[in-house]
Assembly symmetry: C2
Homo-oligomer: 249 residues x 2
DNA sequence: CATTGTTAGGGTCATGATGACTGTAACTCA
DNA sequence: TGAGTTACAGTCATCATGACCCTAACAATG
């Protein structure tokens, strides 16, 4: 599995370049109804790590940008378009793959739950709870952990949470997203107060009927890239509203 | 990993993979004495963008990790080791280079001023003020702007500022670093109060003599990676090898 | 129809971080 | 000896935050 031929090949051949994607969606737990983080994985159908689960990915095409490659990758796996797509990190350690020198540029994406339900599952594509996505191929355990860390970091000041939801949502739904990602309970009253001062979220004149309690008001996200496709690269996040974009540790 | 890939369709021409580095150092302005951000650039000695200034960079060697490649790159340019080195972003747009498809994984680094003074300058390597680093080759203008944005974002909550300074420093020096990076004046009293609550900075029992005012106390950074080389990103690092040809960008 | 349970949505209070500002100590230089 | 400058400590108002309480509005149950 680790022949000397492979080692000598590495000195000559340039490193292979691949794109992988960590795709997050939220699904309510059947019992408690609380939201949980899920992600799709694909089963390896060749060596190395044959049979193990891995992040969806593939080589970078010659006529597509990194962002487009990640989007295509995501479409081929879940058959759906993401509401958020951003570069995570470029992994290029020497020991990532035993058979070849591989550099993976990893993206992370958010999809809505209703879309995640429609996503195709098959023998080799299955959704897992993020907490149960361990024992993956290559270094994908660490990549998933790092993507979760980025997600948690970005939800606190960015506009990431809205991309888990549809166009209109209640504050309780939005709070459920925060609680699922941050993993802790949030006070409903304080949460409401904070989001009233956030100016890229506005209340509609509609309420959500059909519940068995007082009908909650529906809100809408009016900030940048509301319903538009996610933007490419690192243009200045401009507004000094909140701290700053984050980065690998 | 390439379960859903249509391989034959994509093997037209694999994109080239390069490593570039944005190297920051602070130098006092001759007149005012205020610190300013500088970075070294290299002149292009071949097409495209012949004669223009560009970020130091080169192809990724087959036996070095991304981090090691950036460190080697930096050593070859400034002849010095950085006190901080972190991945910035992977740039892979289709129109980055007119002659070839090029994917650049860019790192950013900090070096100390005394080291920056020792750095080698030559006909094709010169230091520029960050504000004057415009009109660069390829998309390096945007890369520098993004690196500056990252630097500003990281200095507010991270331990980045200390890497611009030596082991012992006064609070005024540290405040000068913050003012240079953030581009605004900071109140000395409030700055002192904030850094007393930051627990990875501790006062020594020494003061800095020789100034023409009251001698300020010297402090020391005691947080993670204090004097050690910067650690690799979210994964384990491998060992590096030395030689590698130099080629832009 | 009244009661009960549950959530929506409004408020209070103490605390801690922050920015603006004042005052005193310690040193050099003219 | 005094002027000028910086180090360093402290005060005050403001604001964001967490913890907590209260009322409104619905559905389900009796």
């Amino acid at each position: 599995m680790y022949s000397s031929a492979n080692v000598s090949e590495r000195q000559v051949q340039p490193p292979s370049l691949a794109i992988s994607t960590v795709i997050f969606a939220l699904r309510p737990d059947a019992g408690s109804g609380r939201l949980e983080i899920w992600l799709p994985l694909v089963r390896r159908v060749r060596q190395p790590h044959l049979g193990k689960w891995a992040l969806p990915g593939g080589p970078l095409g010659g006529r597509e940008s990194l962002h487009d490659a990640a989007a295509r990758n995501l479409r081929e796996t879940t058959n759906l378009d993401p509401t958020y797509l951003e570069q995570l990190y470029a992994f290029g350690g020497l020991d990532r793959s035993a058979t070849q020198r591989l550099v993976s540029i990893v993206y992370w994406a958010l999809v809505r739950p209703d879309q995640a339900d429609l996503a195709q599952e098959s023998e080799n594509v299955r959704w897992f709870r993020a907490a149960e996505a361990v024992g993956l191929a290559f270094d994908h355990d660490e990549i998933v952990a790092y993507a979760l860390e980025r997600l948690r970091g970005k939800i606190e000041y960015g506009s990431v949470a809205y991309h888990f939801l549809g166009e209109r949502f209640t504050l309780a739904q939005l709070r459920g997203v925060y609680e699922a990602v941050l993993g802790r309970h949030l006070d409903p009253a304080n949460f409401r107060r904070q989001l009233r001062s956030a100016k890229d979220i506005s209340a509609t004149d509609e309420v959500l009927q059909g519940g068995r309690n007082r009908p909650p008001r529906l809100y809408r996200y009016t900030g940048p890239d509301a319903g538009t496709p996610p933007r490419e690269a690192p243009q200045a996040s401009g507004s000094a509203e909140w701290p700053a974009p984050d980065a690998p540790p």
